[in-house]
């Protein structure tokens, strides 16, 4: 074999703490290495051209590049060696940046380590063999999970791009958090006026199938060919007949259950349409509070329904859909502020969340848009906003900034003044985070035009005095303690991962981060991809986001889906397991352990049982290879011999010890 080695300086990123020419010189002594050089930027165009030129001139049949992590540029270099006429798998990378130059302080140790990593790569490459991808067809249909603004955007863009879309939403209506908002920053335009038309488009688009009150039950298959089972929960209303007239909602006598759409500020009837613009505009029964379903008597809705669509016997239904790609847009949930004992843990009725305040401001909310505080219905004059409730606080395991609270608090301060001209708002903040177009100007307006008093400091406690709440906090700019008498306290609660996100992640094989948000493939370069091919992220399920960012990501995910499904055929990763039938004794252990059902039992021509891998189903994890005692099933590109070659390069057994 003729191997060429290229040691990248990465400017000074590597060369600063690794003696690259010396690594290159050492590499020449390794077996089969016929060419070795150092290069300033291997990934640059001249860098890649130099590799291609060397392959041709030196007649190389394998290339090692020592540079950054293969998670960054393995694909880049594979394409380069392919352009040079080699098989893309006749390439290995040594990570001497992230794993050497950036973490080690001592240059000679770093240089030695880099040389050994190169040697490992050479030894592995010597055992590589050309691999060719298999091609397979894809299902031209997209599943979007979550009908918030990000999911809506992704669904519409995919459908407009010509793909069939199945949109699954857990709640009764799409719209998500945005549907609950009164106005949006920094334009102060009406949230439902912006969102409403998009929701209607979803309902009317011929290529979109909408399943609300539904959740993803299980996901099987792989990129291009997923099989998804959706559980359509019983609504006890036949939606094919329901016209959304609302007669049942009016007549329902059971109204003691809190209304989640209105953030539990008021109660909702047991059969309900959550809000006027709901899509689909269909009624559904809450089985927890419905008198008929809990006590077996009532049926008022069934009596008044003009189209007789009430069905108390309805059961959950499982629907299976085949899709080629999946967009996850499951959004976020609000931090449970009861974890902060200093805010009263719910003992004071007039301490509410920002989302509850949003409902109080909304004309379609429980107070018809008149701000009335929950305890006595009085209009508040002094409103205190407390920011960073569940953001930037390690003590509650929420060290991250939720990003949008500064902005919505400014918006709510402005709206407070609009609703109650003689009111005064106070905002306790840590820092104002308002990067974004017209964002900082907006917060300045809240302070300067609307007279909101911003106090830089945390709130230590809230306690009642008379019919007021005293908010005590620090004013760190004045260096003093302040106490503000408030009629209403609004907690700017931060975002946290949506409930059930982790469980959904398990089904989709998308890992959540330590806070439960889904991890993207690369924080900068692959923000909507996941490590599972064919599954994309949109919106706040990846991390807290405001509306423009969520919409942007929805479109971005749709672009990725359209790109993926525009190909007639997809190529499977050839680094899959392969059975050597001559060694296989047909014990079936690999079949038993494969998580993907990618191995089946076949019979050879003598009728002996043998394992066989289904290439397109195999994901290349290698569990089977370890399970097989004979080593008869080997994961291509990570065979026992390839990994042992790396082990032996690092720790040579006695037989090899005298080499060099």
């Amino acid at each position: 074999m003729r191997i060429g080695v290229f040691i990248c300086h990465c400017g000074s990123n590597i060369a600063g703490t690794v003696d690259c020419p010396s690594v290159a010189a050492t590499a020449l002594k390794y077996p089969d290495v016929v060419f070795s050089t150092d290069t300033m930027y291997a990934c640059s165009e001249p860098g890649q051209d130099a590799i291609i030129q060397a392959v041709k001139e030196k007649n190389l049949d394998g290339v090692v590049v020592a540079s950054c992590t293969p998670r960054m540029h393995e694909q880049t270099f594979r394409r380069a060696v392919e352009r040079a006429g080699l098989n893309r798998y006749m390439f290995e990378m040594a990570n001497i940046r992230e794993h050497v130059s950036w973490i080690g302080k001592t240059k000679d140790l770093n240089t030695g380590k880099a040389s050994e990593l190169v040697r490992m790569a050479v030894e592995k490459l010597r055992r590589n063999r050309p691999l060719t991808a298999k091609r397979f067809e894809t299902t031209k249909r997209v599943l979007v999970i979550g009908g918030g603004v990000a999911g809506i955007q992704a669904a519409l863009d995919c459908a407009d791009g010509g793909q069939e879309v199945v949109l699954v939403e857990r709640e009764q209506s799409i719209g998500g958090k945005m549907a609950k908002l009164d106005k949006t920053f920094p334009t102060v335009d009406c949230s439902s006026c912006v969102l409403g038309p998009k929701m209607v488009d979803i309902a009317q688009h011929p290529k979109i199938t909408l399943y609300t009150c539904s959740e993803v039950e299980s996901v099987g298959g792989y990129v291009g060919n997923f099989q998804v089972t959706v559980r359509r929960k019983a609504t006890y209303v036949d939606w094919t007949k329901c016209t959304g007239c609302g007669l049942c909602v009016e007549k329902c006598p059971s109204r003691k259950h809190p209304d989640p759409f209105n953030e539990n500020l008021c109660n909702a009837p047991s059969i309900n349409i959550p809000f006027p613009q709901a899509i689909p505009k269909k009624a559904a029964i809450n089985p927890v509070s419905c008198l008929m379903l809990t006590k077996g008597k009532c049926g008022a809705c069934a009596k008044v329904c003009p189209v007789k669509c009430i069905d108390f016997e309805q059961k959950d239904e499982l629907v299976t859909v085949d899709v080629g790609a999946i967009v996850v847009a499951t959004g976020y949930d609000l931090f449970d502020w009861h974890k902060y004992p200093q805010y009263g843990e719910g003992r004071y009725k007039d301490v509410i969340t920002s989302m509850q305040y949003e409902r109080l401001l909304s004309a379609s909310g429980p107070t018809g848009g008149h701000v009335k505080r929950p305890s006595d219905g009085k209009e508040p004059k002094n409103v205190v906003f407390i920011q960073c409730v569940g953001s930037r606080d390690k003590s509650v395991n929420r060290p991250y900034c939720s990003g949008f609270c500064c902005m919505y608090t400014a918006k709510q301060a402005i709206l407070t003044k609009d609703h109650i001209p003689d009111s005064q708002s106070y905002v306790f903040y840590m820092d104002i985070r308002s990067p974004g177009k017209l964002y900082d100007e907006f917060t300045r307006r809240a302070m300067e035009e609307y007279g909101a008093q911003y106090v830089r400091g945390r709130v230590a406690m809230i306690y009642p005095k008379g019919d007021k709440l005293i908010v005590r906090g620090a004013d760190t700019l004045a260096g003093t303690q302040v106490e503000v008498p408030a009629d209403l306290v609004v907690l700017a609660v931060g975002a946290e991962a949506a409930k059930g996100a982790v469980q959904l992640g398990e089904k989709l094989r998308v890992a959540p981060d330590q806070y439960g948000f889904f991890v993207e493939s690369h924080p900068k370069l692959k923000p909507v991809e996941t490590n599972t091919a064919g599954v994309f992220l949109a919106g706040a399920c990846q991390g807290p986001k405001d509306i423009p960012a969520s919409v942007g990501q929805g479109s971005a995910a749709a672009a990725k889906v359209l790109g993926l499904l525009s190909k007639a055929m997809l190529e499977s990763d050839p680094a899959v397991s392969r059975v050597n039938p001559a060694r296989c004794v047909g014990c079936g252990k690999c079949i038993q352990t494969c998580p993907f059902g990618a191995i089946k039992e076949v019979q050879d021509r003598f009728g002996n049982p043998k394992a066989e891998v289904i290439d397109t189903v195999c994901q290349g994890c290698g569990i089977c290879t370890v399970t097989c005692p004979q080593g008869a099933i080997q994961l291509e590109h990570f065979t026992d011999n390839q990994i042992l070659a790396e082990v032996n390069a690092l720790c040579p057994p006695k037989m090899f010890a005298n080499y060099e």
Partner: protein
């Protein structure tokens, strides 16, 4: 009727439907038994059982895959059969199990040590009571079973076959689980002492693979990775490290599967105490997974499955 007669009767009644029935007969001298493959009623006359019938005949079963055979098993051997069944390496329908209620077998190694000199050819063996009389070169030596019993019999909890089509003999009340003093003593040694011990014993190893070939659970046969180039796990180097590596391969492939029949150790021509490794691994498997290979039907080997929460694995959160 004696246990042997009962067994012969039972085998006779099934022989017609079977490829063969595997039992024991006298070997090259009266002290040593050897496996007997009974294909006709005439062969039955040579069948023996008793303390000299040491071999675990389950080892042969996988070689007959697809054919229906009979096998005579002691309690310990039956665990190997169970494990093979659990791993679907043999079909229950393809094997007729003649189970014995066993009173224990001897260790040839201990007999050799107990006799005054290397016995060479043994003239006769008289078995009776709690011992046996071995005559070599005209000289008779009387040995007590208790002194020459195999290690595994001392701690045996399953003297009677736990799965069988026919069970012959008088059932025993199994003894409670115990541990061997030599095992405990060895485990208590320091790492350095243990390392030195294995260095020495493994330098004796001649890599004959008798331990592997005698093992009823080693079903790879010709495809063992110890003797393969792709994958190339072991070199031909005859060093303690390489020899130990083979034992590590063996134990690793037996984790959760080894029934402690002791055939590997019995087969070793250079007296390497391989069961020290096996018993220790089994102890760990039992401790973590509450699993004993071959103890019951319908068990899944613990390394072929998992639990999302492993109660007994402390994942050392660091």
């Amino acid at each position: 009727m004696s246990q042997l007669d009962d067994l012969k009767t039972a085998i006779k009644s099934r022989l017609g439907e079977l490829e063969c029935v595997i039992g024991w007969e006298q070997g090259y001298d009266p002290l040593h038994a050897t496996p007997l493959f009974i294909r006709s009623e005439a062969d039955l006359d040579r069948l023996i059982i008793g303390p000299l019938a040491v071999h675990n005949l389950a080892t042969y079963l996988t070689g007959y895959k697809g054919k229906k055979v009979g096998v005579v098993v002691k309690g310990c051997d039956s665990k190997s059969v169970v494990q093979l069944l659990n791993e679907k390496l043999i079909n229950r329908d393809d094997v007729v199990i003649f189970g014995l209620c066993c009173d224990g077998v001897v260790s040839q190694r201990k007999i050799r040590a107990a006799l005054p000199a290397d016995p060479g050819f043994v003239e006769s063996v008289e078995i009776g009571g709690d011992g046996m009389t071995v005559t070599v070169a005209g000289q008779a030596a009387t040995l007590k079973f208790a002194d020459v019993q195999a290690d595994k019999c001392r701690i045996c909890t399953t003297p009677d076959a736990i799965v069988s089509d026919v069970l012959v003999g008088t059932a025993h009340t199994p003894a409670p689980a115990a541990s061997l003093a030599c095992q405990d003593e060895f485990e208590a040694k320091s790492d350095a002492e243990k390392l030195e011990f294995w260095q020495e014993t493994m330098s004796r190893c001649i890599r004959c693979y008798a331990c592997r070939n005698a093992c009823p659970m080693c079903v790879c046969r010709d495809y063992c990775i110890a003797t393969s180039r792709d994958p190339l796990w072991l070199s031909q180097d005859n060093t303690p490290a390489e020899n130990m590596m083979f034992q590590m391969v063996h134990v690793s492939h037996l984790a959760g599967r080894c029934t402690e029949c002791g055939e590997c150790e019995r087969a070793c021509p250079v007296d390497i105490p391989l069961m020290l490794l096996r018993r220790f691994m089994n102890k760990q498997v039992k401790d973590v997974f509450e699993h004993q290979a071959g103890a019951a039907l319908e068990q899944t080997p613990p390394l072929l499955t998992f639990k999302v929460e492993e109660e007994r694995i402390n994942e050392r959160g660091w």
